[in-house]
Symmetry: C2
Subunit: 358 residues, 2 copies
Amino acid sequence: MNAADPGAGVGGAQVRVALDAMGGDHAPEAAVAGAREAVARWPDLEVRLVGASAVLERLLGGTPAGDRGRLPVLDAPDRVEMSESPVEAVRRKRANSVSLAVASVARGESQAVVSAGHTGAAVAAATLGLRLLPGVRRAGIAVVLPTRTGSCVMLDVGANIACKPEHLAQYASMGLALSRRVMGVPSPRAGILNIGEEQGKGTPLVQEADRLVREQGLPYAGYVEGRDIYEGKTDVVVCEGFVGNVVLKASEGLAETVQALLKENLLRTPLRRLGALLSKGAFREFRRRVDYAETGGALLMGVDGICVVAHGRSSPQAFASALGYARRCVLGAVNRAIVDGLASLAPASGTTAEGTSA
Amino acid sequence: MNAADPGAGVGGAQVRVALDAMGGDHAPEAAVAGAREAVARWPDLEVRLVGASAVLERLLGGTPAGDRGRLPVLDAPDRVEMSESPVEAVRRKRANSVSLAVASVARGESQAVVSAGHTGAAVAAATLGLRLLPGVRRAGIAVVLPTRTGSCVMLDVGANIACKPEHLAQYASMGLALSRRVMGVPSPRAGILNIGEEQGKGTPLVQEADRLVREQGLPYAGYVEGRDIYEGKTDVVVCEGFVGNVVLKASEGLAETVQALLKENLLRTPLRRLGALLSKGAFREFRRRVDYAETGGALLMGVDGICVVAHGRSSPQAFASALGYARRCVLGAVNRAIVDGLASLAPASGTTAEGTSA
């Protein structure tokens, strides 16, 4: 594993990512275009396109020869449709694109897998095809959300809907590894999502998780409330999968509704339309800032291999960003950091390397 | 009880609301100013100001004589401070303003209570001082959220952090009563918040609640996901208090962050500043639309009396809106609708009046 600074060039070292080229609303076209964009941008990156090889080869026509060498194709005759039950489909169609992309990681041929297909299918394929990292009890899905001051890692957002306190405590440790190694926060702090900041608030689950995290000596800011997420109170927010999923989707819905309502109001009179035109750059910058986090995709944490789940509606640019995010996770050696972090916690209470290794 | 159309004048009938005049960041000044605004606006409204009488009498100086008669003062020597443990403070300080305002409802002197103080204190005072409505198992806090198409009632947002399926099913019934009788939706539908729309998704709690609601024949649209809340898929969204509280606060935080980031971007260049100036009206309308719901405050549902919890930062206008909301709940006879709705469900499965009484 390579523990170099995330994003720094690694001089010839190849980062090999397997891309589920058939997953996503605009696949395979957007997937192939995104992969081309990504290899052109990062000379250390190889993207293995997994899917219907004849289609993929055709779409790759016209790629500059220098880049084409870093875009091998791996044939996968099946694909998981959005309408299928993901776990069943992954089990039944053995040669589906996401499972074969995961298998490429399991064989050590690739270090990461990216899919914009059904989240459930990607999670099922990865948990079936890759083992859990040593010490990890349950995988969790982490997203990066924009905040007033930067960004924040939140997990779990749907892999583990009924958590035990130990799971939440491990998520804190995993989230801190992601924040430090990939987001580049030198001394991140975690918080547990709750309905109030005071001790004694909340369910037995969060109270017990709070006790565990304190005992383990993780860099911890205590409970955070819903509003603290976007205000950037902590770098990592930990919650049960049910809660995280609902908060994430409600946030997406609210952000879209806000934009739609504002647009409606801005188009209502000629004067306002002119005003909106003059200040167009502000809206563009704003959207880029808010989208920034999303485009990276979600990271399935805790499995032995990097697994990035991109948005179903991914455009070529979004695919390129998701590939770039996977690359940063590989270069940042986030999984090594998770294993080391958990190992240093294992002996039970007291101080740990987690708080000081940054 | 008066079942007239909410908002319609009731010809001389007095709506009597007890206002915790000491609760809120800007109390008592903003509370008194809001009460003056409210009685001037609604001639059928009487607002009983509960708090330090000498202070309140002074603040009422200069009120037009016609309105002054509808602003009686009730002395409450104590108040609950934001820093106190609300339940303890309510128990210890017997003559605190929110408890005495609730007591005025319990005596039948007022029909509703409004407080912008500590939410926990208001909920504690109301659940201690008012009985549950016949048939109600647990009180719940309902908020009205803006959606793309109008608004949506969500409950519980924090009164009941560990729900049983029966509680969620009752919340659906209560939320429908609020939507129909106060929000004026002729045929509202409820949904249960979950992490997916398909049957079999989610925790045992939501699955069992889903079964109950279907069995009771409530107007029901099935599961809704986080993003459906703001898209207005259903008129009522039901969830456990922990989840609802986190979603509500995350939404508030996100909305504020979005506005702050956009403003920052709009002020960055002179051209953008000009653009923003020209389209100022759009932002104002947008904010009014988004604030609309909030200003009404949250409604503690299930107790025998209307109890509106306003935002801690309430301005005079927000106090007036909260008083107006309490008035609409009284005129809409929402509690009578809850009792009737639950009674009609009681005989067990089959059809109910709930779906057809509108």
